[in-house]
């Protein structure tokens, strides 16, 4: 197994969460979810990925409201949301915390309850970000999963709480416990998150990197060096 970036691991975990989905929409500033979605698309050609802020060949021709209209009709089944704070009930806060102002709720208040499979993603895993109760509820819904830089959680609908599914290489059960501000269901032994395999890494560093470089040049440059943007013909359509 060669070395890989943390971002590559996270993109792989996201790709593995997308089985059976038909259409993921990716909101603002989400290069890792976008990489995960494009990686999954490499394995499932019928899977559609719509980048809200795609710079060229943007799929939305009715303006920026079309994303929300599509979601309202049930034509989007996966969406990703983050938060300055995420709490144990799955509520997210994109507005203000600890006296600090954040950008704002974007479309989260609508997308979270409307899209069937919302994946929460926040790289920073700390008691600052994963809190017992958010200071402001930007959005509330039923999450499909919570992925952080340390671990993957699923959501237990009956208990209405997160369950620790796996711990990423470099972290541990104790580390996750220490850095999580809310209570969650934890197995006695949580497996380690599977590292990217050679095939996944090759796809990430090839076609996925090219796709990401067009829309997230800063991110692609940081992770993959001089990834070449994909040619203007996009393989987004199944």
């Amino acid at each position: 197994m060669g070395t890989y970036a943390k971002e590559e691991l996270l993109a792989c975990v996201i790709a593995r969460l997308l089985g059976g989905a038909r259409h993921a929409a990716i909101g603002a500033s989400s290069p890792i979810p976008a990489a995960g979605a494009f990686l999954h698309q490499q394995k499932d050609e019928t899977f559609r990925v719509s980048l809200q802020q795609r710079r060229a060949a943007n799929p939305f021709t009715e303006g920026s409201r079309e994303l929300f209209d599509l979601a309202g009709q049930g034509r989007i089944d996966v969406f990703f949301l983050g938060g300055a704070q995420i709490d144990g009930e799955g509520a997210i806060n994109l507005v203000r915390a600890d006296g600090k102002r954040f950008p704002g709720s974007f479309g989260s208040a609508y997308m979270y309850p409307v899209v069937p499979r919302t994946i929460l993603f926040r790289e920073e895993h700390s008691r600052r970000t994963l809190v017992p109760k958010v200071e402001f509820v930007s959005a509330r819904g039923t999450p499909a999963a919570l992925l952080t830089g340390k671990a993957l959680f699923s959501w237990l609908s009956d208990k209405r709480c997160f369950r620790l599914e796996s711990v990423h290489p470099g972290s541990s059960l104790a580390d996750v416990k220490r850095n999580t501000g809310f209570d969650y269901d934890a197995p006695q032994y949580a497996p380690q998150t599977a590292a990217p395999d050679e095939g996944e890494l090759a796809l990430l560093r090839g076609p996925v990197a090219s796709e990401i470089a067009v829309n997230y040049p800063e991110f692609a440059g940081r992770i993959w060096g001089s990834a070449r943007p994909a040619a203007p013909t996009h393989r987004e359509q199944p």
């Binding site: 710079r55 939305f60 303006g63 409201r65 509520a91 600090k100 704002g104 974007f106 208040a109």
Partner: protein, 238 residues
């Protein structure tokens, strides 16, 4: 953006900004320069370049008022205005604290009801204007909705086209007809550092430079001196 820079130079005051549905560097410049009293928006962000620093500081110091919203609520409110009806319903959103905070929103039969939004001015940059007073915005249909909803619409444009774009079957669907357009002005490279698809790309490096400079009041002042207040340099370097 040329108009934003002109507003800073002429020391506009007490502006109320509406993000359709979000605001970015233009709003941050105006806020930092003291032009803004209030923003209504779903977010203020510099995208990949991070937080909008002047907005963040102004809110933390209570220098401006913020009416937080969520993207589809703004689209819906403008759609109500363009139809000339007082309000429109919207799905989702109900679990969000936005509903508590926004006294002008109400809930009826399990749906959010948002009042029509009728801005005084819709202001944007277009690829083309023609001799008949039409402007072409392509797939950015939220600009058309904003123009339909607003009391007046002011447009800067990249290039002037001869004739009437409504006579061209291929161009017409991307046109906002002169019915809605109050005035136009030529502003070549007027979107810089943002892109005009088909004409020039986004200048990511400049937005990153701004994001860094505007972290402090002093850095922001230096940015204004260099890129906004000095007429010679207040335009694209290209």
């Amino acid at each position: 953006m040329d108009v934003v820079r002109a507003l800073v130079r002429r020391q506009a005051r007490n502006l109320r900004l509406l993000g359709v549905p979000i605001l970015g560097m233009g709003a941050d410049l105006l806020i930092g320069a003291g032009c803004v009293a209030e923003v209504e928006t779903s977010a203020v962000s510099l995208g990949e370049a991070g937080l909008a620093p002047r907005f963040t500081e102004a809110v933390q110091q209570r220098l401006i008022k913020v009416k937080d919203a969520t993207c589809p609520a703004i689209h819906t409110a403008l759609q109500a205005a363009e139809k000339g009806v007082p309000y429109m319903p919207l799905a989702g959103v109900l679990g969000s604290d936005l509903v508590k905070e926004r006294k002008d929103w109400r809930v009826e039969s399990g749906l959010l009801i948002v009042p029509a939004l009728r801005p005084d001015v819709a202001l944007f940059h277009a690829r083309w204007a023609d001799e008949a007073g039409n402007v072409w915005v392509g797939r950015r249909r939220e600009l058309a909705t904003a123009a339909h909803a607003a009391r007046s619409t002011l447009v800067t444009y990249e290039e002037q086209r001869k004739g009437d774009m409504l006579e061209d079957e291929l161009l017409a669907p991307g046109v906002i007809s002169s019915i809605y357009v109050t005035a136009t002005a030529a502003a070549p490279r007027g979107a810089w550092p943002f892109a005009v698809p088909g004409a020039y790309a986004m200048d990511d490096a400049h937005v990153a430079l701004y994001a860094k400079a505007a972290k402090t009041q002093e850095g922001f002042r230096r940015y204004l001196d260099e890129w906004v207040l000095t007429p010679k340099k207040s335009c694209s370097p290209a």
